[in-house]
């Protein structure tokens, strides 16, 4: 298992290197001159050139890249031009609401979708199954921002159960924090939950057709044990894969939901930074998000190993 983990972590190094190159050059090749952005429209040509030299922007591109990369590896992603603070600090500040929202949405999706998917699988072909499948199709088809607006209208404006918008940090109490996240999390997670219901159902159905399920029944086990011990653990390999993918989708979706609910998260940070040509922040944010994706995938891979011994022994995957 330790060997497996080390192998997985080492395999991330080249991936992150490629990501760093892409991030650096996308930003580097896009129009706009940081030095003139910093100095404003009234700066003279010589002032701009002096700042360029100071920032190292006159160096050959590979030198700039390795300087930037070297700093990044030690955790220094530069200073925000706009906020006069380290990029990592700015990122951290905006990332927390996004992370809260995403995790909350993911928990909602998993807690709701897996049991529903199992029920649909067990009741395959019945009215219960058909209506669950109908609802899940509906859930997948509703755009999250529309659902968000609808939820605000119903629960915040009409019923006044929840705040209309805004984000309450965890430091102001757990309940106000959760209360401010419930509606955005529902809006964000519905499509993922609906997808997860369908995937859970279909992977359970696949697994239930296996010979070892029949064999488990032939031992005299209760149907509950057959489903939850023998089938679910196997189906979980597929379910995990979907959770891994949806988590990434959730982060992307969070950007939209943050606008609807006015949550100061990564989405706002990126859009604002692009408008302000705050290059270090753009670069750093994209790099950190990429790093996050990579680590989520790593975590999912390690979980495979926990769930499925064949992965742990290096028989599958790779």
């Amino acid at each position: 298992m330790i060997g497996y983990i080390t192998k997985r972590i080492l395999s991330l190094v080249p991936v992150m290197f490629v990501v760093a190159i892409v991030v650096f050059f996308i930003v580097h090749l896009s129009p706009g001159e940081p030095a003139s952005v910093i100095l404003g429209p009234n700066a003279s040509q010589s002032e701009v050139e002096a700042l360029r030299a100071e920032l190292g922007h006159d160096d050959p591109v590979p030198v700039q890249f390795f300087n930037w990369l070297g700093d990044a590896v030690t955790g220094d992603l530069g200073e925000s031009i706009y906020a006069n603070a380290p990029v990592t600090e700015v990122f951290g500040q905006y990332f927390i609401p996004t992370l809260s929202l995403t995790i909350f949405a993911q928990i909602l999706a998993v807690v709701f979708a897996i049991p529903v998917g199992i029920i649909a699988a067990i009741r395959k072909g019945t009215a219960v199954d058909q209506s669950l499948m109908g609802f899940s199709l509906l859930g997948i088809s509703i755009p999250s921002f529309l659902l968000g607006l609808f939820l605000i209208l119903l629960f915040s404006v009409n019923l006044e159960w929840f705040p209309v918008a805004g984000f309450v940090p965890l430091s102001e109490g757990i309940w106000p924090h959760i209360r401010s996240l419930i509606l955005p999390a529902i809006a964000l997670s519905l499509a993922q939950a609906a997808l997860l219901v369908r995937m859970t159902r279909s992977s359970m159905l696949d697994i239930l057709d296996n010979e070892y399920i029949k064999a488990a029944r032939s031992k005299g086990l209760k149907e509950r044990v057959v489903i939850y011990k023998h089938a679910l653990r196997n189906a979980f390999v597929t379910i995990l894969e979907v959770i891994g993918q949806t988590f990434s989708t959730l982060i992307a979706g969070a950007v939209v939901i943050e606008f609807v609910f006015n949550i100061p998260g990564i989405g706002q940070l990126i859009v604002n930074s692009v408008e302000r040509r705050d290059f270090p922040v753009i670069q750093g944010t994209i790099l950190l998000i990429a790093l996050l994706y990579v680590f989520i995938n790593l975590a999912i891979d390690l979980l495979y190993g926990v769930v499925d011994p064949r992965v742990r022994f290096g028989k599958k995957g790779d």
Binding site: I122, K124, G125, L208, N210, E211, Y212, K214, A215, A216, R217, S218, K219, G220, L221, K222, E223, H230, R233, N234, V307, D308, P309, R310, F313, K315
Partner: protein, 344 residues
């Protein structure tokens, strides 16, 4: 009541499919006694597995598209009518099963020890520790080296023969009265196959259980069975003791099966005999004798009317209109010609 361990009476198993209802097992009757091995033979698709799985009612758990008719009497109970709770007490405990595909009958995500112990803990009042010891003992009994290590291994770490032994250990762990073994050796190579057969034979003697041994390998039947039923398209076409079956097969289908056993006589190496034609599908079952279209003796009567089961002797039954004439014509020769295979 019957004194047989298991008595199946006019069992029919119907499946609902997209193309309509099919009857995969159509009115079969047979029995198994304690301490005997009943062979069940027939080509692929003739309903051997469906028959065996019907006994433990393993076919209708989920989809509810399977219906059974008839009776399966086991110790004064009709297994087709007992409650699910009672059925669960019998499964794995009094009647256990080894499935056709041992490779995929073990759950890949649990250790083999876990899976054997699960059965033991379920049916016997043993602690986890005792169950583990029992699992080790059972594995040792099947000849697996260092069983105390093996129980911590996962199915994918074991070879096919080892998995088959694990399945046997698991099936026998609660000392069943009846063991249903569905082609337990088909996937294994010849050496392992004969080891497993010897093992089953030894364990049968030790436990005095009845075995229903499903196979399409008549050679194996000759080796380990006491009686045989021959199935064709969901029906039993012949039932006999092993000796009778090989000495004097009555049904043309059985004769075909016996003739198509590969022969290594040394002197003359004949072409492998193949029964002509192919098995009709369950969707258009012939109305007369089901074998008629492939039978060289078939007459209009065969095509028109389904033959009843005739008792040639009380021990030897056959579902063929013309078995007597055929017997007079060629039966005696057949027996002589084949004594080499039958003398086992």
């Amino acid at each position: 009541m019957s004194e047989h361990l298991l008595e199946v009476n006019q069992l029919k198993t119907h499946f609902k499919t997209e193309t309509g209802q099919v009857t995969a097992v159509d009115g079969i009757s047979f029995h198994i006694d304690e301490g005997e091995t009943l062979g069940v033979v027939g080509e692929s698709g003739c309903g051997k597995s469906v028959t065996s799985e019907s006994i433990l009612r393993l076919l209708n758990e989920r989809k509810g598209n399977t219906t059974y008719e008839g009776e399966i009497n086991y110790r004064g109970k009709d297994l087709l009518n007992v409650s699910m709770k009672e059925m669960r007490k019998i499964r794995g405990n009094e009647i256990s099963m080894i499935f056709q595909d041992a490779m995929s009958s073990l759950n890949p995500v649990y250790t083999v020890g876990n899976q054997i112990m699960e059965t033991i803990i379920l049916h016997q009042n043993l602690s986890k520790k005792e169950a583990e010891q029992k699992a080790i003992d059972m594995l040792a009994l099947t000849g697996i080296p260092s069983p105390e290590k093996r129980i911590h291994e996962y199915p994918h770490e074991l070879s096919g023969g080892m998995k088959q032994r694990v399945m046997i250990a698991q099936a026998l762990s609660c000392r069943p009265n009846l063991l249903i073994a569905d082609e337990p050796t088909t996937a294994l190579d010849v050496t392992i196959q004969s080891q497993i057969l010897d093992l089953m034979e030894d364990l049968k003697k030790e436990y005095d259980m009845g075995i229903m041994f499903i196979t399409h390998d008549l050679g194996v039947v000759a080796e380990i069975c006491t009686r045989v039923i021959v199935m064709y398209l969901g029906q039993i076409v012949e039932e006999a003791t092993v000796k009778d079956l090989f000495d004097q097969p009555l049904h043309p289908y059985t004769k075909g099966l016996i003739k198509s056993i590969p022969q290594l006589d040394g002197e003359r190496k004949k072409d492998l005999f193949v029964i002509k034609g192919k098995v009709p599908t369950l969707n258009d079952v012939p109305k007369g004798c089901r074998f008629a279209s492939r039978c060289s003796f078939s007459t209009d009567k065969c095509v028109e009317e389904e033959p009843p089961t005739f008792e040639h002797t009380p021990e030897h039954k056959v579902k063929c209109w013309h078995y007597k004439e055929i017997l007079e014509k060629e039966g005696a020769d057949f027996g002589k010609e084949r004594t080499t295979t039958a003398s086992h």
